[in-house]
């Protein structure tokens, strides 16, 4: 395995000339960007702009047409044996809009299963860690509940704990609060804020501009498959440079 030892100076995620098309339709048109270690990047943009596709290419849930994406020094999209890709994927946490908890497993089993089956962690250690993680997301009392018995907000918090159980150095969030009732958005965002405060590197596609303002180090504004603006949130929200971003922000305020 030609894993490059990560150094403190290399960016955690590095996208170089990332292009992707579905047939004739170009979704991503040459994305060049970096996410530093410990940085929180919020990706926003109009629907159909390619933001979900972009975040899904980072752990190779989507293939790319050309370019490269490195995570922790490893090129995710190079040709490699399946096991190597699985190993790299296990080091990138991913949280889905639709939670995708495993409905046949209880909350704690959802969290402990992958460390046991993928990393070969002992059952005792995996369940001890899972208990800790449930405490971290405030769901100690729901350890034995099945996903069908949990609210959307609770399910998403379990899903975050499940991703954290693999101890990834980076977490990706694909619209984690978009499928939630409004009163449950806060509980999920506060877990994410806690993660950011602990120094987790995060990429997050979201429409929660309040979260972007409070937590993000940088906001990427994506439109028509390109990163149109990349700026710290206070700058992006108060002085958007492009008309497209201005229009997007004014539409959000309505």
């Amino acid at each position: 395995m030609n894993t490059i030892a990560p150094s403190k100076n290399t960016p955690m995620i590095e996208l170089k000339g990332v292009c992707k098309s579905y047939g004739l339709y170009e979704v991503l048109k040459g994305i060049d960007a970096e996410v530093a270690r410990g940085e929180v990047v919020v990706i926003c943009g109009p629907s159909g702009s390619g933001k979900s596709t972009l975040i899904r290419t980072v752990n190779r849930l989507e293939e790319i047409g050309s370019g490269s994406i490195s995570c922790d020094g490893n090129n995710i999209h190079r040709p490699m044996p399946a096991q190597e890709l699985n190993r790299l994927r296990s080091r990138i946490g991913f949280v889905f809009q639709s939670f995708n908890l495993f409905p046949h497993l209880s909350a704690i089993d959802n969290i402990a299963m992958s460390p046991i089956r993928v990393k070969g962690v002992s059952r005792d250690a995996a369940y001890a860690k899972a208990t800790q993680l449930l405490e971290r997301v405030g769901l100690t009392d729901k350890a034995n509940a099945y996903p069908g018995q949990l609210s959307g907000g609770q399910q998403q918090r379990v899903a975050i704990a499940r991703a954290l159980a693999m101890e990834p150095p980076v977490m990706l969030f694909d619209e984690p609060t978009s499928a939630l009732d409004p009163e449950m958005v806060g509980e999920v965002l506060s877990v994410m804020k806690g993660l950011a405060a602990d120094g987790m590197t995060m990429m997050c596609v979201t429409h929660e501009m309040g979260f972007a303002r409070d937590v993000a180090d940088r906001v990427w504004f994506i439109d028509q498959g390109q990163i149109v603006e990349s700026a710290p949130p206070e700058e992006f929200f108060s002085r958007p440079q492009t008309t497209r971003a201005q229009r997007f922000l004014s539409e959000l305020r309505h």
Binding site: R89, F94, S98, N100, F102, H104, Y146, G148, Q149
Partner: protein
């Protein structure tokens, strides 16, 4: 009428139960049960392997299995049994016992049917579960084993049971290649008595009914046990609501 049946059972119960054994091969109900259990036990894992092969992107796995499934679905089981019985000894020169011919034919035939049920269950689950498992670092087969199949197989239990039941009933076709099963024994009795075909075959029908009905009960009990365990997904089952729930409930 009833008394005729009782007399037949009294006179021939041992033949119905174990055939000519120990003077001949083990037959009767024992052979039917052994054939059924073995056929189901082999057909089930075979069907999962076939379903995975049909879902595979590799043409080397996909094409032959797809061809097999289409062929098997399009040809009557009796035809396969007769081919196996006459052609395999011709082609290989080996003397294959009819019991084995019947078993292999049943496994291939029902395995192919069952594989479509299993494949349907997997496809119906949608992409989200597989993506979530892959994102956590599971291999494709690992995701299948720990995430997809436990849900997919549970969701298609009713259809799986239908195939199992039809496997048991299809063991009767072994009669045409002299597999000494329950049907074979009943037919021997009928040939001796000559005058009471209704009574003889009524016994046969009743025994098959009890076997198939018992299997259905076991399946319903298994299903409701799993359902109760995953109580969040479906309301606690009553015997009546269960069948409906199994048809309509989607994993959330």
């Amino acid at each position: 009428m009833i008394s005729d049946i009782i007399v037949i059972i009294r006179d021939y119960w041992l033949l119905l139960l174990i055939g000519q054994y120990p003077n001949g091969p083990l037959g009767g109900l024992a052979a039917t049960l052994i054939l059924s259990i073995l056929a189901i036990a082999f057909a089930f894992p075979v069907s999962i392997a076939l379903a995975l092969a049909r879902l595979s992107k590799s043409p080397f796995l996909n094409w032959p299995v797809t061809a097999l499934v289409y062929f098997t679905r399009g040809v009557p089981l009796l035809m396969l049994i007769l081919w196996g019985y006459f052609l395999v000894p011709l082609a290989t020169g080996a003397n294959v016992p009819s019991f084995l011919t019947m078993l292999v034919t049943l496994v291939v035939y029902q395995g192919a049917f069952l594989s479509e049920v299993v494949r349907g269950g997997i496809v119906a689950l949608g992409h989200g579960q597989m993506e979530a498992a892959r994102a956590l670092g599971h291999s494709y087969l690992g995701a299948m084993r720990y995430v997809i199949l436990p849900q997919a197989l549970y969701n298609v239990i009713p259809s799986i049971i239908s195939v199992f039941v039809s496997t048991i009933k299809d063991t009767t076709l072994g009669y045409v290649i002299n597999v000494p099963d329950l049907t074979f024994a009943a037919s021997q009795i009928n040939n001796q008595l000559l005058t009471q075909p209704f009574q003889v075959f009524f016994i046969l029908a009743a025994v098959y009914y009890v076997i198939c009905w018992s299997l259905t009960r076991v399946a319903v009990a298994t299903e409701s046990r799993i359902t109760r365990k995953r109580a969040g997904m479906v309301p606690l089952p009553t015997a009546k609501s269960l069948k409906l729930a199994a048809l309509t409930d989607q994993p959330s």
